[in-house]
Symmetry: C2
Subunit: 720 residues, 2 copies
């Protein structure tokens, strides 16, 4: 027995403390889980044998009861693996492989009646996801999370692409600094963001993109953010350790949970190739499949809209120039129209005509509904009713007009962040939509949240965004959300949720933001914001230098987009979204119909995507195959530096000639000095061709590739 | 010019500082308004020449901008008067006279661009109402009230009937002390109130009832509380000064207003006769008339209900005995019923039969809808859906059953204070009601409010209660609200809002409250809580000593109501409400059918009310004439002391004999020792008769008076 006993002891107790290891399917990544001497759960992520994340602690604190941070033993450690393929309703690719090894550790605190915690790890070839799970147990039914202490202890002073941690906004331009240089409370561009709740000097948001000195790319984010607040990261600038910082509610609590329950997945995507970060499907794979049986009504689309005109000051959202509106008491027919209202019946017809002529599916109209006279910055609850049009916007007339031309009007619900008001009214508002032929809505959350004290990124609002996704789905309505929490892959579960803004979009290049967007901005966003989901970036401003519609503000207002014209076309490929706006004014497009052709042609749903060249903050070259067509669309963009994009076409169907239409910067183009100089050339290409395209400073190029007809073969020359 | 100038100066500047005075129509009350040396507005209220309220300051502080508290001059002082009569849709009397003198002072701060404030005073024969008004002006559009400093500087250490100032509850038993002895943070009975937010040792709620050493009665409250937080009062125990203390929102602000705007009326009802306090219509007169064109669907009513059975532990609200329900995920048919569910089809049919047999209009059923298994105390948002019945409650079968018997089921919506959930669901819930034959709903707000950080008595919730009143009116639904902010006369504007609880009702006399209600409780409530509106007190428990349905809790649970049986009948008259419950179990009433007859007979809508004897905290004798009938109903109650009620009948139609049916305490009755001993006697009476009825300790008497028929004249003897 003497010999057996120690073995038994090891067997019995060995599990309690022994490190648990799994490797990714290709064996290169390894995850190690263990407990410290105090029974604190820790994990470690390595590439081959090199740490990416050093030993880092995990834990959850609860309010008014014992938390889940130490005193654990390992009760069970199960491993499994999965290898399946699934098809998204729409996406960058037709099929997605979900291939991982899973480690599920069940932990038990000795001291506690309950004290049981599960941590589930999924290790993919390109990264790790893990989450906390709270099984039903004695002493744990309803509980309140007061803090989460998930550490990501990094191995060096990595180059980091970051924006300030904030409970309410994600509309910052990116900073690129070392971890040790993060200082989140000072910034020039902050003045153009209306509602901010910056956490502090040392906190940043996710997705967080990093590059190590060794050339390893690391991206930290979360997947499937439901029923929990968003995770920011507090940075230790000496140790390069990050720790989770959750968004609080009005009374300082973080999350209200009910066992059995779970947190979102914390994700770490890793590769030595920047392109593989962008190609990663880890976050989508961690999200729940959709439960919708019928998704036939969900259609990726391109749209135009009465929108840019307001941002550049040509139109107004409001009908009259008055302040101090009480919604329920106003007789709108008695107000004097200011003569610059964008959303008039007449103007909308013009946009519908343009849309029909050029084959766009929809026309967004902002400012159609009463309340815009004093909607902004008042923290006003009864701000909009979402069903009463202005006197100059005829809902039924436009319904018929659009239907006769095969165009849909896109509804606009700016909530002004008065969310209790929106939730009271949304059912009626969605019924109104369906009655009047609308099947898509763009929502907005500009302003401080009501319920007062809640934040855009807190648990209550996270649940609200999901309620809207569910409710619109019930009405078979497609959804585009502006100013919400940044996405985390939920469009897999809610495929009617086509896109979100949730970052600093092209609108910051219109007049009202003095800073605008720096030229590197669009080379960073795919590595950060877009890791969680598509962005309604609203590209396609071809009138780069636009008129000054508010000369009384001369000198204070910019009138130029920080981009070349060709780059604006490239963005339709590099800035993935199933919902893309041709954002400029029709009258501007009519000046550039040749360039506009790319926008008309480009697809919004894809069979395949090739990330050809990629460096965060510097450049991006992407090729995508249109769904169910033998057409490819390429986009190449650069930052403030000029470069030559080197574009292989090896993915084309072999032994077939294509017409490549190249929309490029003219040789003399420059984002500041000469942004609108572009050229269009056509060539015959095949899978052997390698395109070399000069991109101007702050420039880009867009290429469409369609099978060459016999006529094309005669008309065009081969690319040299 | 020398002589003229001073006169001109006086004329020009005299208005700025000169006191403004008005008197009540009968000349006995006078109000004086003036400014201090610092330009602070002040008022003073006197009876004949004797101060009731000494010079007291008025003022409003704003957040982030100059407030309205000092530096004023008087720009204008207008006086007017009104004398009109109006008819309420239902009430204690058929007609109400609105007779007052009004002083409206317009004040201007010199320093400010805007700085204009209006204070409107209305002086009635029985008291004063005043409010602040904020006219449209430069610099004032959207503004935030950070504090209100309305003083009520009293003249002595008055005897005061008070409950603690609290942001969330009004369910305290009353304290009777001098002002100097107020200590609001210690109390035995506090343990049985689930959600409390006591302000502090020196704060009390309104309505606040006082009696001076000289025998003057003073009641302070507010009227027309809309779009503003409730007013509590902070007490200075040395100076006997009170100052307003408003309920804050989650971020510490008090009210979000938009010019032109106004506060509620602050009211001071005054009389040397306690009866006149109760008879005062000042608060109703300050409320807005209703805008409803058609009020024919609004019907005062009496109801029974599956309710008391749960409070005494015979039934449960919940269907199964499980905890940890997730509403959307539960298959209710799979749960094991606990066999004690109150709201079953069978039990409801029994109540419908009882109701039909005895002529009650409606049957309330609590616990009909899923979610009761773990609804309480979890601060749970998705707690009820208000449309899904339990497996043992057949909505359509009961709809038909009730309709066939001419009885209405009364809907129950316990919100559990998850108000965002209720607001999302209420439209569907009201439609569900109308589809299934319900035209009345009892709502409840048990628990901590969601939106988290809001309070039951804050501006947001005040607006919610009004939204519910408006929304139910749109659906032609009558409303009874439990656990809201205490009423302030809004039932004039929203006559479908029949009653509220908003105080410590008869349910505290059931088993779960160890303290119960003291016998004086019902002699105080009409002078406090009921000054603002009717109370759904739920009287009529005749089985005073009831069975112990939870013997496992023996010794911890009371099984007796702190009242005699006869007092329970009297309460139908002394506790005014157009909605009255016969609250006991049918099987209990069947034991006391002779006493129950009073409950069946008593009216709930009145042509006239006579307050015959009244002393707050001691006794109350009231007579009321049934609407459109020559019938009177009398109620007399006492506190823990026995007394003889001396009841004149001078208001009866002259030269007519009536049968008086007297339901009284038996001579040996006592609220503690022998509460169920009662007797019923019939006599012939007329307008010359004076009834003298002995009320037991903690007892009462109820009398019905109906015209005597020829047969009655032979059958009964005259009262001696």
């Amino acid at each position: 027995m003497k010999q057996v006993l120690p073995i038994l002891v090891v067997l019995l107790f060995g599990l309690n403390a022994a490190a648990q290891n799994i490797q990714s399917p290709n064996g290169k990544l390894s995850l190690s889980f263990g407990l410290t001497g105090d029974g604190e759960p820790t994990y470690q992520l390595s590439l081959v044998s090199k740490p990416i994340v050093r030993q880092s602690r995990l834990g959850i604190e609860l309010k008014d009861q014992a938390g889940f941070s130490k005193g654990f033993s390992i009760v069970k450690a199960d491993t499994s693996q999965k290898d399946e393929t699934w098809e998204p309703v729409w996406g960058e690719v037709k099929q997605i492989r979900n291939h991982y090894r899973e480690l599920t550790v069940t932990l038990q605190q000795a001291a506690s009646k309950g004290g049981r915690l599960i941590i589930r790890f999924r290790l993919f070839d390109d990264g790790l996801g893990f989450r906390y799970e709270f099984p039903e147990q004695e002493g744990l039914k309803y509980f309140v999370v007061s803090d989460e202490m998930t550490e990501f202890n990094l191995t060096g002073d990595h180059k980091t692409f970051w924006i300030p941690g904030d409970y309410d906004t994600n509309e910052y331009a990116y900073f690129t600094t070392k971890l040790s240089e993060i200082e989140a409370t000072k910034g020039e561009a902050f003045k153009d963001i209306a509602v901010k709740t910056i956490i502090g000097a040392n906190a940043v948001q996710t997705p967080l993109m990093m590059k190590t000195a060794d050339g390893l790319y690391i991206n930290i984010h979360e997947a499937a953010l439901v029923n929990y607040p968003a995770m920011n990261l507090a940075v230790n600038k000496q140790t390069f350790g990050l720790v989770s910082h959750l968004v609080p509610d009005p009374v300082g609590n973080k999350a209200y949970l009910q066992a059995p329950d779970k947190t979102p997945w914390r994700t770490i995507v890793v590769s030595d190739k920047a392109a593989e970060i962008l190609a990663s499907k880890l976050i989508l794979n961690l999200n729940e499949p959709t439960r919708l049986q019928d998704t036939s009504w969900i259609k990726p689309q391109k749209y135009v809209g009465i929108w840019w005109g307001m941002h550049i000051g040509k139109y107004t959202w409001n009908y009259a120039d008055v302040a101090n509106i009480k919604l329920a008491e106003t007789d709108w027919t008695k107000l004097k129209p200011n003569g610059r209202h964008g959303a008039t019946t007449e103007n909308t017809k013009r946009y519908i005509d343009f849309s029909a002529k050029h084959g766009f599916a929809g026309v967004l109209v902002e400012g159609w509904n009463v309340g815009w006279e004093d909607w902004f910055g008042k923290w006003k609850e009864e701000v909009f009713d979402f069903v009463t049009p202005y006197p100059d916007f005829n809902v039924t007339e436009l319904q018929a007009y659009a239907a006769a031309r095969g165009v849909k009007l896109i509804m606009h619900h700016e909530t002004s962040s008065s969310v209790t008001n929106y939730e009271r009214r949304m059912d009626e508002a969605y019924s109104f939509m369906k009655r009047h032929g609308y099947d898509s809505v763009k929502t907005g959350y500009v302003g401080k949240i009501i319920p007062r004290g809640e934040h855009h990124d807190g648990q209550w609002m996270v649940n609200h965004y999901v309620r809207v996704a569910e409710q619109t789905a019930r009405h078979k309505i497609m959804l585009d959300v502006h100013e919400p929490v940044r996405p985390t892959g939920l469009h897999r579960t809610y495929p009617n949720w086509l896109a979100s803004e949730a970052a600093r979009g092209n609108e910051f290049n219109s007049g009202w933001s003095p800073a605008g967007n720096p030229p590197e901005h669009e080379t960073i966003l795919p590595f950060t914001r877009l890791m969680g989901g598509p962005m309604d970036f609203t590209p396609g401003i071809l009138q780069i230098k636009f008129d000054d519609y508010q000369p009384e503000r001369k000198g204070q207002l910019r009138t130029t987009v920080h981009s070349t014209l060709a780059k604006q076309l490239a963005l339709y490929v590099t800035m993935y979204s199933p919902l893309q706006m041709a954002a400029d004014l029709p009258e501007h497009y009519e000046r550039f119909l040749d360039a506009f052709q790319f926008i008309k042609d480009v697809a919004v749903d894809w069979d395949d995507t090739q990330i050809l060249e990629a460096e965060p903050g510097d450049y991006l070259t992407i090729a995508r195959k249109a769904k169910n067509k033998d057409e490819w669309y390429l986009g190449a963009i650069t930052d403030e530096q000029s470069r030559t994009a080197d574009i292989a076409l090896a993915y084309l169907t072999p032994q077939r000639w294509y017409v490549a239409t190249l929309y490029t910067d003219a040789p003399t183009a420059h984002w500041q000095d000469n942004p609108m100089a572009y050229q269009i050339q056509n060539f015959l290409v095949n899978d052997q061709t390698r395109l070399k395209i000069l991109l101007a400073n702050g420039g880009g190029a867009a290429v469409s590739l369609k099978p060459a007809s016999a006529e094309d073969m005669k008309k065009y020359k081969r690319y040299q």
